[in-house]
Symmetry: C2
Subunit: 534 residues, 2 copies
C-alpha cells in the first residue's frame, strides 16, 4: 500500500468519529502536504502551509499499518454490534425499513461522514447529513448494501445525490484462475478504489471462493446467483427450477453476499424482441433466462417468484440489483425495443421490492453511442421511479478491443454526470480475456477518473478540493505532494523517475527556458516588484 512505502510517508490512515454514534470510526486517507516556499525578488523566503486533503478510502484495514490482517482469519467484523443491537431491539432488518421508520442507523451516519471527506474542516457546505441519507434510502433513491451476515463490510451508499461509486468484477470461469488469485484480486481492487465487488465466478469452488472473499472484503459483495444455480444442474438450462434457485439464494444470503443481480426483467413476451439484433443477447444471465423461457414456453421463475425472492432477501438486508438481461451488446443495438421493454418491467419490479422494504437498484447498459446515453438515463429515472442506476460503461464505440476501459470510461463519465449512481468497471481485457491484477488496477483507475469527473460536474461537496490541491502542487513544483494526491501515486512517480527527473523547478518536458510555470512565477515576481516600486 502507498502508505507503507517510505516514499509515500505523507499519506496516513485517518479515522473520524460519529456524533450520533460516537463509536464509529470512519476510515479515510489523510494527505499531509508540504508547505509552499517562495522566494521574492529581494531573496526573502515566505513559507505558507497547505491544508491536508482527505480522500475517500475503500481499502479497509489493509491500508492501516496498525492493523494486522490475516487472510485465513478474515478482517474485523465492524458492523456486528450494530446488527446485534438492531436484532435485540426489534428494529427492522433492512436499512430501508429503518429509514421508513425514521431511524438513522449507524450505517447511515457512517456513510454521511464518509461522503463528506471532512469538507467541513475547509468550510465547505454539504447537503449530506445522516438525516439526508435516511430520507434518500426511505425514498428508494439510495441503497446501502449491507447483508447482516457480512459485518466485515464498511458501509457505503449508492445514490445519485452522493459520490459516484464504482464496482469491480472478479471471478474465475471453468477454464481459469484459483481461489487465492481471486481473493488477492478482491483485496487489490479495494486498494485501488473499488467501492463494491462482484464475484462472477462460474467455475469450480464457487462457494469456497466466495467465502474467502467475503471474510476479507471491506466492501459490499455482489453475485449473480443464477450462475451457481446453473452449475448445480450441470449446466443444463432446461433443468433450472425455482427450488434450486431459491436454495442458492438462501445459501448466499447466509454466507453474506450483499446484493444479487436478478434477471427477473426477462419476460417471455419480450425475448423475441432481440431476434433481429446484430448481437442478440450478451448478458449471461439474460441469455440463460431467455433460453429457459423459450424451452419451457412460460414466464421465468424469477419473474413469477419475485415476491418470494423479496421475502428471502429482506430477512438479510440483501439488496437487489435488477439485471438488464436484454442490454445491448453493441452500439448498433442500443436503445432498442428489447432493452426498453425490459426497463419497463424493472420499473414494475422495483415498486414490488420497495413494498417489502428491499433496497433495490437497476442495472443498465452496456454499449451505447454518446448521442443515445441521455435517453437511457432519463427513461431509467422516470420508469424506475428514481431507483439508483448502475451501468456497465457504457462503451461508446465498438472498434477498440484492448482499450475498452477507455471506450467505456468516456460513456461512464457522461452517464454518471447525468445521474448514474454506480459504474461497473471495464478492464482493457474486456471482450478478450479475464483480467489479471494489472488490468484490475487499470480498470479501477479509469473508472475512478470517470466517477470523479462526474462528481466535479455534479458539484459533489468538496470534490474539487483534491483537484485544486494537486494543481497547486503541480504549479509549485511540489512533485511529491502531486503524487500523494493522485489516483495512482506509484505509476506517476515511476514515469517521473524513469525520465531522470529530480525535484527541481522545471522538468525534461520543456527544459528551463520553456517552462511555462517557471515563467509565470517570474512574471508574478515581476508584477510584485513593479507593484512595490510603483
Amino acid at each position: 500500500m502507498p502508505q507503507h512505502n517510505k516514499k509515500y510517508g505523507q499519506r496516513e490512515k485517518f479515522y473520524m468519529a460519529g456524533k450520533i454514534y460516537p463509536d464509529l470510526r470512519v476510515g479515510m486517507i489523510k494527505v499531509n502536504l508540504t508547505p509552499t516556499v517562495t522566494v521574492d525578488v529581494d531573496g526573502k523566503r515566505h513559507i505558507e502551509p497547505n491544508a491536508p486533503v482527505y480522500i475517500y478510502d475503500t481499502s479497509g484495514p489493509f491500508s492501516d499499518p496498525d492493523v494486522k490482517t490475516d487472510l485465513r482469519k478474515g478482517i474485523e467484523r465492524i458492523r456486528q454490534p450494530w446488527i446485534d443491537s438492531r436484532r435485540t431491539s426489534g428494529q427492522g432488518t433492512t436499512q430501508m425499513a429503518c429509514a421508513k421508520a425514521g431511524i438513522i442507523t449507524p450505517e447511515m451516519e457512517y456513510v454521511a461522514i464518509r461522503e463528506n471527506m471532512n469538507c467541513e474542516e475547509l468550510g465547505i457546505k454539504t447537503h449530506i447529513t445522516p438525516e439526508f441519507v435516511r430520507a434518500e434510502i426511505a425514498a428508494g433513491r439510495a441503497v446501502i448494501p449491507a447483508n447482516i451476515n457480512h459485518p466485515e463490510s464498511e458501509p457505503m451508499i449508492i445514490g445519485r445525490n452522493f459520490a459516484v461509486k464504482i464496482n469491480t468484477n472478479i471471478g474465475n470461469s471453468a477454464t481459469s484462475s484459483s481461489i487465492e488469485e481471486e481473493v488477492d484480486k478482491a483485496v487489490w481492487s479495494c486498494r485501488w478504489g473499488g467501492d463494491t465487488l462482484m464475484d462472477l465466478s462460474t467455475g469450480n469452488n464457487i462457494h469456497e471462493t466466495r467465502e474467502w472473499i467475503l471474510r476479507n472484503c471491506p466492501v459490499p459483495v455482489g453475485t449473480v446467483p443464477i450462475y451457481q444455480a446453473l452449475e448445480k444442474v450441470g449446466g443444463r438450462v432446461e433443468d433450472l427450477t425455482w427450488e434450486v434457485y431459491r436454495d442458492t439464494l438462501v445459501e448466499q444470503c447466509e454466507q453474506g453476499v450483499d446484493y444479487f443481480t436478478i434477471h427477473a426483467g426477462i419476460r417471455l413476451q419480450n425475448v423475441h424482441l432481440a431476434d433481429n439484433r446484430l448481437c442478440g443477447i450478451v448478458s449471461r444471465g439474460g441469455s440463460i433466462m431467455s433460453k429457459w423461457c423459450l424451452l419451457h414456453n412460460r414466464e421465468s421463475f424469477l419473474y413469477e417468484h419475485f415476491d418470494d425472492i423479496c421475502d428471502i432477501v429482506a430477512r438479510y438486508d440483501v439488496a437487489l440489483s435488477l439485471g438488464d438481461g436484454l442490454r445491448p451488446g453493441c452500439t448498433a443495438d442500443a436503445n432498442d425495443a428489447a432493452q426498453f421493454a425490459e426497463l419497463d418491467t424493472l420499473g414494475e419490479l422495483v415498486t414490488r421490492a420497495w413494498a417489502k422494504d428491499v433496497q433495490t437498484f437497476i442495472e443498465g447498459p452496456g454499449h451505447v453511442p454518446m448521442h443515445k446515453i441521455r435517453e437511457n438515463m432519463e427513461r431509467q429515472l422516470s420508469h424506475c421511479h428514481e431507483a439508483p442506476f448502475y451501468t456497465l460503461g457504457p462503451i461508446v464505440t465498438d472498434i477498440a478491443p484492448a482499450y475498452d476501459h477507455i471506450t467505456s470510461a468516456i460513456g461512464a463519465a457522461q452517464i454518471a454526470w447525468l445521474g448514474t449512481a454506480m459504474l461497473c468497471y471495464v478492464t482493457p481485457k474486456e471482450h478478450l480475456a479475464l483480467p489479471n491484477k494489472d488490468d484490475v488496477r487499470t480498470g479501477v483507475v479509469a473508472y475512478k477518473i470517470a466517477a470523479h469527473a462526474a462528481d466535479l460536474a455534479k458539484g459533489h461537496p468538496g470534490a474539487c478540493v483534491r483537484d485544486d490541491a494537486l494543481s497547486k502542487a503541480r504549479f509549485e513544483f511540489r512533485w511529491r505532494d502531486q503524487f500523494h494526491l493522485s489516483l495512482d501515486p506509484e505509476l506517476a512517480l515511476q514515469y517521473f523517475e524513469e525520465a531522470g527527473h529530480t525535484d527541481g523547478e522545471y522538468c525534461t518536458m520543456c527544459g528551463p527556458n520553456f517552462c511555462a510555470a517557471k515563467l509565470t512565477h517570474d512574471l508574478r515576481k515581476l508584477n510584485k516588484k513593479n507593484g512595490t516600486d510603483a
Copy 2:
C-alpha cells in the same frame, strides 16, 4: 505495419481514383472479411459473404508493401504536380483563395474521397462532395493545411462537418531525444492514426530535425515558431523581436511547415487577468509572450504584425492555428476571464486572416471540467465565426497524472461531439515526462477512440460501418476479423493469445456453458426450427 504481418493478411492497402482528377490515388486500408458460416439444426451449412470495410488511413506509403521507403530520400512528393500546375495557371496559392474563386482543387477532391471511406459502395449517402469541401473552405469552416513546400503530405481536412481529426505532438527538449528518435516517432504516430503532427522541439538541431520529419511525413506538420525564435536569441525573452520572428517564419515556410501556432491573442491589457489563477499561464508560447509584453510594457509584436504574418504565410498556404496562450492549466481556472478575453481577440484575428485568404483554426483548452465544456464550444463558434476549433483534451479532472490520456479522452469525446474539428492528443506521460513510442501509440489510440465516438454521435457518413462489422464478427466468433477491424489489432490479438484462447465458439472469459453469444445462437436455431415445424 499490420499488413506486413502474415497474421493480418486480410488488411490491404487500397487506392481510389478521383472523378474530377482521375489521377488521384487516395489511400485507404481495405479489410477483407471472412464469410459467415452457420450450421442449422439439421446440420446444413450456410455461407454468407461479409462486405469489405474501408478504413481511413494516415500511414501514407509506409503501409504499402509495394512502395520502398528510405528515410534518407524522403517519401513521394504526391502534391508537386498540382502545386506546379496552380503556379503556372495563375490560380491563387491558398486553398481558401481557390475555394473563394469557385475552384475545386485536387486537394479538395482528394479529401472528399478520403472522408467517405467508399461508403457509396454500401449505399450510404454522404453530404461530403468536392463541391461541399470547397464551400466549407471558402466559408472558413474547414481547413486543408497544405504548404506548397510540403508536397509529401496527403491532403486532409479539418472542420466540424468532417470526420474528427487528431494531432500528435513530438519533439525533443534541451535535455532529451535525438533526431532519429523523433523521425521514428513521427512515422510511428502516423501509423497509428495521427492526422497531423506538431514538432514541438525546443532543443538543439531544431532545423535539421524538422527537415527530416517533413521529408518523411505523409501528414501536415505544425510548429510553434516562437520556440525556434527564442532559441535564436539565446533563450532571453526580452531579446525577442519581430525581425527575428519574421525570419523564423520565412525559414519554416520555406522548409514546408503546414501550420503555425501563433500566440497573437495575448494582449497587454489581458495578461493581468491570469494573476489570480491557481496555475497561472501554462502555455509555453503564452507565457513567453506575456513576459515579453510585461517586460517591454507594450503590445506583442505578434499582435501588432499580425497582418504581416498573414502576408508571409499566404504565399506558401501555411495555415494559422491561433494559439490559446491563456488556456487554463487546471480545472479550477477553466472558463475564466483571461481565457475568454483571449478567445475574443482570436475571433478578431480570424477575420483578418480570412481577408488575406489565410486558412485559420483556433486552439482551445486544456483543462475543463465536464459541466463547463459546452460553454467553450458555443463561445468559440459564435466569437470565432465558425472557424474550426482545435482543442487539447480537455482534461476533465486533475487527479490522475499517468492517466491523462484517459482524463482527456473523456473531455475530447464530448467537445468533439459538440463541434471541435481536431483534438490534440495527450499521452499517459503528460505532466510527467516526454512520451516514448509506447506512449505515442497509447495516446493516439485513446484519441482515435474519442474522435470516432464523436463521429458516431454526429452521424458522420458510414462511421458506424466499422463498429457494426466488428460487432458482427465478435458475435459470430470471427476473432481474426474482429482484430483486423480494431484500432490496435496487435494488442487485441496479444491479449487474446496470452489467455490461451483459440478460435473456437467460446472463450475462457465465460467458458462454454456461460457464453451468452453461444446461447443466443442456440436460441436462434431453436426459433428457426420452431418456425419451420409450425
